[in-house]
């Protein structure tokens, strides 16, 4: 029979062992729906069935983005109103077979003006996204093959991380704005601290993941790692030519030898039919304009972090990420740097906030917030 002291010692020992093993601080299944956070398509909301009727990678339970433009706003509300009283599967957020008042409440209270796929504690989606990134990176390194599936996972998770940082920041900013304008009678500033703490927790892992992606990129260029057939086939012919031009001569020769039918220009075969549809892929760009002058994935990513003062940097991300390059290390690095802008802006705000003294403390703090919003919002 264990004495209380022995029980305490056992518990302490178990905790120390967990700590020593480096078990992540977040739960593996935060919403308790039986689906690991790393692959859960709706974090923070239990959806054991993982219903994703529009196949965009985000479970219906947390996907109010009915037009798949990565925002949930008045355009989606208009579509939703048309589906009220029907059995439209995409607008049926709770999966009860009908679009009704319950779905209206979910859209209104949980999903509106948030990117799809958000939910749970602040930055829980980002933490889970990084875990999935780490798993994917490990698989690439183990197999020395960069697969289409890995590419899509990286794309999807990078989006989740970016969207979650922005979403978490937005939520915290809204609380702080309320606190500022009400003189502290409502809202709070503590959520900002929570978001910052969470960002600081995940930053080293995100750093490591990006370094690992850079290493993979280098190894692919050198021919130490290769691509799978599906990945090459998913590229257009010009993109394949670009790929050949970006690897070493040895790697180029190996690719052409491995997939002669996919590089017809290089071996004199007839052109293939080009890029196949990725109907059920985690669909980052579904419903958006093609990645041209003013649209596409890169632009959407840039939109997350476009404050006036940072517009130039954000558009650099657009240039880096467009034209199918969203999986690249350069794109990931750019997104990360924009994420840093959010952190830096909060640090500036924190100093300003703490230095604000009475009299007129609320006014000074409101100015801190205005300055903050000019950078981040």
């Amino acid at each position: 029979m264990k004495t209380p002291m022995l029980k305490f010692a056992s518990l302490l020992g178990a905790l120390m062992l967990l700590f020593a093993l480096g078990v992540p601080a977040y739960a593996a299944d935060g919403d308790g729906d039986g689906v690991d956070d790393a692959i859960d398509n709706c974090l923070g909301k239990a959806n054991a069935d993982q219903r994703d009727t529009d196949h965009d990678g985000f479970g219906n339970r947390c996907d109010g983005d009915l037009n798949n433009d990565l925002d949930t706003n008045s355009l989606d509300l208009g579509l939703f109103k048309q589906k009220l009283g029907t059995a439209d599967p995409n607008a049926d957020f709770n999966g009860d077979g009908a679009v009704n008042a319950a779905d209206t409440a979910i859209l209104q209270q949980e999903l509106y003006l948030k990117p799809p796929g958000q939910g749970g504690a602040p930055l829980s989606a980002a933490a889970a996204g990084i875990q999935a990134l780490e798993t994917t990176i490990q698989q690439i390194n183990d197999n020395r093959v960069f697969t289409l599936a890995a590419s899509l996972t990286i794309e999807n998770k990078l989006f989740s991380i970016g969207a979650n940082i922005k979403g978490a920041s937005d939520g915290a900013f809204a609380q702080a704005k309320q606190a500022s304008q009400s003189g502290g009678s409502s809202g709070n500033v503590e959520d900002l601290n929570t978001v910052e703490t969470s960002l600081n927790d995940i930053r080293p892992r995100l750093d490591n993941a990006i370094v690992a992606l850079q290493t993979i990129d280098t190894r692919l260029q050198a021919g130490e790692y290769t691509f799978d057939r599906n990945y090459i086939a998913s590229l257009t012919l010009p993109e394949r030519q670009d790929l050949l031009s970006q690897v070493t001569a040895a790697a180029r020769a190996a690719l052409i030898a491995q997939f002669p039918d996919l590089f017809p220009g290089a071996v004199g075969l007839a052109p293939t039919t080009g890029r196949p549809a990725l109907a059920h892929s985690p669909c980052l760009a579904c419903g958006m304009p093609s990645a041209s002058a003013d649209g596409g994935v890169g632009q959407r990513i840039a939109d997350f972090f476009i404050p006036p003062a940072e517009a130039a940097a954000a558009y650099t991300c657009y240039n880096v990420c467009k034209n199918g390059n969203v999986w690249t290390v350069a794109c990931a690095t750019c997104i990360f740097k924009q994420g840093q802008n959010v952190i830096n802006a909060w640090n500036t705000f924190k100093n300003c906030w703490n230095n604000a003294k009475s009299p007129f403390k609320a006014v000074k703090q409101a100015l801190c917030l205005a300055q903050f919003l000019l950078i981040v919002a």
Partner: protein, 190 residues
Amino acid sequence: MSQHHRTHLKAAALLVAAFALGGWTVARADTIRFDPSPKTVNVGDTFSLALEGAGFASNVDGGGLGFTFNPAVLQITGVTIDTGVWDFFTSFGGYDNTTGSVADILFSALQNVSGDFAIATIQFQAIGGGSTALSLSESALNPFASGGDPLAVTLANGTVNVIPEPATWLLLLAGLGFASRFHHNPGRKP
């Protein structure tokens, strides 16, 4: 009917037609505007303007607006979005009286909203003499939309004229008087 009466009738018909045409031209469809505008107030006055939609033929599911103003002339003291009209969602991004900007007045409705409708009431305080435009812009966060499609709207900027306080008027008048006197007696040393 006499020639005199016919002339009067023609004139009246022309007047009615001109009125109708003028009215049709002024009341543009799908317009966002301030009311009243232009507004004239005195320095120190507190007042409010309605931000409203006019002439919307289709249902408006929601929209988002911001505007800028001259902070040397006006200060914002409050923004209230009409939750009776916008029953689904409202959100306000805040205002900055140092740069003169109001951000992200966001509103959405589950009920049908069309024709003329209220959006928000903006409270101001006039702090300096002069005139300022209230320059509207759309917010991309919640675009004007109807039935899932973007809705093109006309943004009619507002104007507020603030009359300087009496001391400023007196100073101005004294300056004018001095200049006038000097002008009429060019040979005399000031």
